[in-house]
């Protein structure tokens, strides 16, 4: 029978796979991997669980006295030891022991009726299992997925971009650990195969099948890449498994060749057979324990007495050394050593902790010379299981007498100042950080000494630095008083604007998004658009945004493959060039849609993973970020979010950036693009965008930084500063070289219009609440695009209220963008009037907006003292003072006036 090994895709698997010789060895995996390799979810930050039953045994002269640790607090220790003992260190460290749970995944294909089949995927382990899946259609080539037809999607499914579905596995019954999901298949649909991986949301781990997606073929001719399940050929490719050598003695090995599968009864149905397969799976389950360490100075003997206790089950050995002379190297202290201590390779001591009488954990006592500076240790559970303190050695400092007054001095300091509350929490906080640093510093120095594994350490340090800097930045920024981004940022960017083509145009741009989600269908979109050039120009547009021009795996163009192949479903490269020329002739600048975050591969690597590129930019897997398990990249970790459908490009690689710059310049030159619309810029650091903009010198550039607004109990929050801040931060990271779509404004308009809450349209400072209120010259306002509207409708503008939206963005500062579908709709004439008003009154991206009303049912503003507007059903008339207002445009629930 066939055997199917499964590997959970834990983090370091790419390393295993890239070993050059065919023999692959699984190395023992350790428990403290989490700090370095696993996703952050695993190590749930700040989990300082103190186990309630941890009893501490402390004594100075081998006499036992009991310390009871309060379970709710880190520091409250009630103890009955003699008063004379000076506690110099007392800390409770959470440790995570990772147990391996074993279970199985099963896949069952069952016929229900003639052409109706059912595919069930289940798992016997507890967890929050998600089936991440998609389909391949008949005639599809390549390994990319498509979204399944609507009727296949079980309730509760969530679409992930346009290529996959995520469906949670449900518990079969309460109290049962089995989880399952069932998908109904109709063989009349053109689905050729079903692809999936299993994801555990709890741990963030992905479970694949032989390093690939699971693939259930529904047709005979599905190409077998070795990852088919239930193929009737019965896994003739057993040989494929031989390249995975599993050492059964290694307890950490996750894969076992014990797969059992039993083919069920065979029925004819388009060549499809029922089957049921089971695959063993193992998952690391974290167990929370703690280690509590108390150090005290014994005044009689001037020794440091360290007590280590833990509630870890089983034998626990402390592997330790001491530090002296300001040197953080491990050294062996002078004898006598505690009981049950052995010397390990002359480098460290090993002491087995005594099991506690009640069987819950163990403890030990170390009496050390008073001159020593500290004790370093890690815990050893068995040969391959080590525990440390979040990736660092545990370190117990013995404050020398000279240092003690300082300590108390600091305490006095906080005592003297009246703001006790603040101080206390602050000093608690600093103490924590300080311990962390101390541990880090020791770790660094010990690594420096050993010169081992430099890469890993550096990576960790860099990550840590970035994290800290980001933290410092966010606090500094928020505490820096009088943050007035508008004036600050505006004045900042005045200077560079003189020097370089800033990517922000003249300020008078009006964008037209020149396509929708269906535009690729005709196959001659460029030509169709050309015919509209005069018309778009006469409407008053100055910039046109064209769809992504490259060869793409998806017809819409957002899954680019060969960047230098500009023949797409929209037309050929020559048609594209002609189109650009045509629009230039009517005075419209053209933006290219540049997809820089990800790129679809041409070839598979030796593991069958698509991460090697072809064409003129034949990058290898070093160009792919390392932190997306799907694609086994060998680059650095992503500098932004990952887009999971295709290999994410690692922009930190010099060769990648060089190639991208060259490509952008080529597009400027060859096609004649004037600027860029940048897709999914959340995926990589804005600083790289600056680099690209500096190199390609666009006339105008705008990035799509789209993330979610903040809601409380389903209600959108009034204050969306955090949301717009993220967008402003991105723009800032590009040094203002590119603008960004004002997603904040769109979101707030949604809520305001939909629920008649027009008060949302003024922020507490009386400015527009979106990006446009903070950095108008970099905000590209819009109400709809190909993703949010069109046939996708991911986040559609409230129906029937589009004109209110346009009345807002076309009169306000920022650079407005009008969606193609709206131009060719009933709104056309109203939009045209607003466009001509904007051009006539010379409103621009930095126009002054004066909000005069933002109430429940009406919002009104006067822009540059020459245009007045109101939206909402409520009443507003501009003041009849010196200015003479006349109505310029009027429609349902909106009205715009201008001075004559």
């Amino acid at each position: 029978m066939s055997t199917v090994p499964i590997e959970p895709l834990l983090h370091h698997s790419p390393l295993r796979h890239t070993s050059l010789n065919g023999a692959r060895t699984f190395l023992p995996s350790s428990l403290n991997l989490r700090c370095h390799f696993t996703s952050k979810k695993l190590h749930s930050i700040g989990r300082s669980v103190t186990s309630g039953n941890s009893l501490g045994f402390l004594s100075s002269e081998r006499r036992r006295s009991i310390a009871i640790r309060a379970s709710s607090s880190d520091t409250a220790v009630v103890e009955t030891t003699s008063q004379s003992d000076d506690v110099i260190f007392n800390e409770n460290f959470p440790v995570q022991r990772i147990d391996k749970a074993e279970g199985k995944i099963y896949v069952r294909l069952k016929q229900v009726k003639e052409n109706d089949w059912e595919l069930s995927v289940g798992c016997s382990l507890p967890g929050k299992w998600i089936l991440h899946w998609g389909v391949s259609y008949v005639g599809d080539t390549g390994s990319e997925w498509d979204q399944p037809p609507e009727d296949m999607r079980p309730p509760g499914s969530l679409a992930i971009k346009d290529y996959a579905i995520e469906t949670p596995l449900e518990k079969l019954s309460e109290g049962d650990s089995f989880h399952e999901v069932t998908i109904n298949l109709n063989l009349e649909s053109s689905v050729a195969a079903l692809n999936f991986v299993l994801k555990d949301e709890e741990t963030g781990a992905w479970y694949q099948h032989k390093g690939r997606d699971f693939k259930v073929p529904l047709l005979d001719d599905v190409p077998d890449d070795g990852n088919l399940i239930g193929a009737k050929k019965g896994f003739g490719a057993l040989g494929k498994l031989s390249n995975i050598v599993v050492n059964p003695d290694e307890p950490g090995a996750d894969v076992q060749e014990k797969g059992k599968s039993s083919s069920g009864s065979t029925k004819e149905g388009k060549g499809l057979e029922e089957f049921y397969e089971e695959m063993p799976i193992s998952k690391h389950v974290a167990g929370d324990n703690s280690v509590s360490v108390t150090a005290r100075k014994c005044p009689e003997t001037s020794k440091n007495i360290v007590s280590i206790e833990t509630d870890l089950p089983g034998d626990v050995t402390v592997h330790w050394g001491v530090c002296k002379n300001g040197n953080k190297k491990w050294e062996i202290p002078a004898e006598p050593h505690p009981e049950e201590t052995s010397l390990f390779k002359n480098k460290a001591l090993r002491t087995r902790l005594q099991r506690k009488d009640d069987g819950n954990g163990s403890s030990g006592l170390f009496s050390l010379d008073g001159e020593l500076e500290g004790l370093c240790f890690v815990l050893k559970l068995n040969e391959n299981t080590w525990l440390n303190n979040r990736g660092e050695d545990f370190y117990v400092p013995f404050l020398t007498s000279a240092a003690l007054p300082v300590e108390s001095g600091a305490a006095q300091v906080s005592g003297k100042t009246p703001k006790t509350n603040q101080e206390v929490s602050d000093s608690g906080f600093t103490a924590e950080i300080i311990t962390e640093i101390r541990n880090l510093a020791i770790d660094i120095s010990s690594h420096k000494n050993q010169k081992t594994n430099v890469k890993e350490v550096q990576e960790n340090i860099l990550q840590e630095i970035e994290k800290l800097a980001a933290e410092a930045y966010s606090i500094f920024r928020s505490t820096t008083p009088a943050f007035t981004p508008e004036s600050d940022l505006e004045s900042e960017d005045e200077k560079p604007e003189i020097k370089i083509s800033s990517g922000t145009g003249s300020g008078f741009e009006i964008l037209c998004q020149g396509f929708n989600w269906e535009s690729h269908k005709s196959g001659r979109w460029y030509q169709e658009l050309q015919e509209k050039a005069d018309e778009l120009a006469s409407l008053g547009f100055t910039v046109l945004w064209l769809p992504p021009p490259t060869e793409s795996v998806s017809p819409e163009g957002y899954m680019p493959k060969d960047l230098y192949n500009l023949n797409s479903r929209y037309g050929t490269i020559d048609e594209l060039k002609e189109t650009v020329k045509r629009f230039h002739k009517v005075g419209i600048k053209v933006l290219g849609d540049a997809v820089l975050n990800h790129r679809c591969a041409h070839f598979k690597n030796s593991n069958g993973v698509w991460n090697l590129f072809g064409g003129r930019l034949n990058w290898d897997d070093r160009a792919v970020v390392a932190d997306d398990p799907h694609f086994q990249g060998r680059g650095n970790k992503s500098s932004g979010d990952n887009f999971h459908a295709a290999p994410n490009i690692d922009h930190s690689q010099d060769f990648v950036r060089k190639d991208i710059k060259e490509w952008l310049c080529w597009m400027r030159e060859e096609v004649g693009y004037d600027g860029w619309r940048l897709d999914f810029v959340r995926g990589f650091w804005g600083g790289y965008v600056k680099d690209y903009m500096d190199a390609s010198k666009p006339y105008f550039a705008v990035g799509e930084y789209w993330d979610s607004l903040s809601y409380t109990y389903g209600e959108m929050d009034y204050n969306q500063d955090a949301h717009r801040q993220r967008i402003v931060d991105w723009i800032n990271a590009t040094s203002g070289a590119a603008g960004a779509f004002d997603v904040t404004t769109k979101g707030i308009l949604h809520a305001a219009l939909q629920k008649c809450e027009y008060w949302r349209l003024s922020d507490p400072k009386g400015k527009p609440p979106g990006v446009v209120g903070w950095w108008p010259s970099r905000a590209v306002t819009f109400i709809e695009n190909h993703d949010t509207g069109s046939t996708q409708g991911h986040w559609r503008f409230p129906g029937g209220k589009e004109m209110q939206g346009y009345a807002y963005i076309l009169t306000h500062p920022g650079t407005p963008a009008v969606f193609f579908d709206h131009i060719y709709s009933d709104y056309r004439s109203e939009i045209a009037s607003l466009l001509s008003l904007r051009n006539r009154q010379k409103l621009h991206c930095r126009s002054e907006v004066n909000i005069v009303k933002s109430e429940r049912d009406v919002y009104a503003a006067i822009i540059d003292e020459k245009v007045a507007m109101k939206i909402g059903p409520g009443h507003y008339e501009p003041p009849s003072g010196s200015q003479n207002w006349s109505v310029a445009v009027e429609g349902r629930d909106y009205k715009v006036w201008e001075t004559s």
Partner: protein, 538 residues
Amino acid sequence: MEVSVIGNPQTKKIYRTELTYRELGFRFGSQVISGESRNRVSFLTHQSSKWKEIKIQSSPRSVRCEAIVSDQAPFLKPTPKSRSLEGVKLFVGLPLDTVSDCNNVNHLKAITAGLKALKLLGVEGIELPIFWGVVEKEAPGKYEWSGYLAVAEIVKKVGLKLHASLSFHGSKNPEISLPDWVAKIGEEAEGGIYFTDRYGKQYKDCLSFAVDDVPVLDGKTPMEVYGGFCESFKSAFSDYMGNTITGITLGLGPDGELRYPSHQHETNLSGAGEFQCYDKHMLSALKHYAVSTGNPLWGLGGPHDAPAYDQQPHSTPFFSDGGSWESQYGDFFLTWYSSLLTSHADRVLSVASSAFKGTGVSLCGKLPLLHQWNKLRSHPSELTAGFYSSGGHDRYEAIAEIFAKNSCRMIIPGMDLSDEHQSPASLSSPESLLAHIKTSCKRQGVVVSGQNSAALVPGGFERIVENLKDESVGVDLFTYQRMGAVFFSPEHFHAFTVFVRNMNQFELSSYDQAVEGDKAKTMSIGSGTTGAASLQTA
């Protein structure tokens, strides 16, 4: 009794031609408290610098030997043009408002996180601006160090070094004024204690150099008050002296820099600035000097034909070629004006060096880099700020001599400025002025520390690196100004990281290739965790 055992009569220094890059760092302080004798032997070297200071000190009343050895012999020409940056220590300045005027530590969490990041990055230490107006805010002699002590404690725990800048000036942004009681005296005092320009406008962020030795502050002279401040600092921070605190910078004037506040309107730097000699004490000193040199009529006021703040230097005759500055009167006035600056530096530095003697802490003072108009023969910006030397001699020489006399390092800012980014109309050359000051320091054997200018300038980091690599005058300490929101903004911090890496040769890019062969090895070390690796089991 004080005996100088070895020493050149003028500077108490001998030059030896020997390149030393070793770190000597020991200091034993045996405090024998029998009678009153204190014995202290301190061997002090700045890491990899070319300085050695050997002090053998034994109670002020008995013997003191001091030898300062430098290899900067004039004839020693180093062979390579540029040097490695590994020996350069990098400091980063804390925000000016780190401690608020009610002794609260501002943005504590941000600072702590920031310090940790800097430590990991390999930064050597932190510069902490300590304001007179914060510490001695309420009443003379009533010092409140708690806020700054808390910061020092954090710095210490993070494992960084600390450079304290004792600031006897006020700041406009953030607004930190002189102590309240000083401000009150300033308001009541007739004729004023502040610098004053010819329009009678007072510069209230710094006391006039002319009152240095006048008992204007509740019967005490400013120098006595500064001395008390230094002593109080020393005792409050005694636990940190010499270990965490490795350097102290003395505030020498406006913004801590040794200069007159010749530009009061920060918005307009295009002018040459104005002379600040119109407070009562200045005028009377001038008068006295004029009488004593036999030209009583010259002592009635400052130059009448100097341009106003926002006027171009050439708009009036004073700074033009052959103008008053070159006349006999000009020489008279400028000599007097600059001598006050020099003697002020000497007073403050002597007060400090006697206060901090034997603490193992190096003293520093900061000069301005007045590069505007320095291509003009008259150097108007430097003249109004007080830098002048009669007969076309080196106008920085006297200052450097004062620094040398007090064993004080000189901090020169503007190491990030390059000529190409200056507007041609300003006739400015920061690069040549910097080279000039460095040469003066070298001649006097003064060690130079670097700083950048306050604002971010294009190509700044590259310029700093070039300056630090310059072998002719070794800069072994650089303080980057200054921590805050901009500093940690993604764009700037990234650039800063690159800069630090360039300095430390922190090799990152090469690990891709380097580790390839090691992979198997590293993975097999007890499961490839840092924890296991540091177990020393492998």
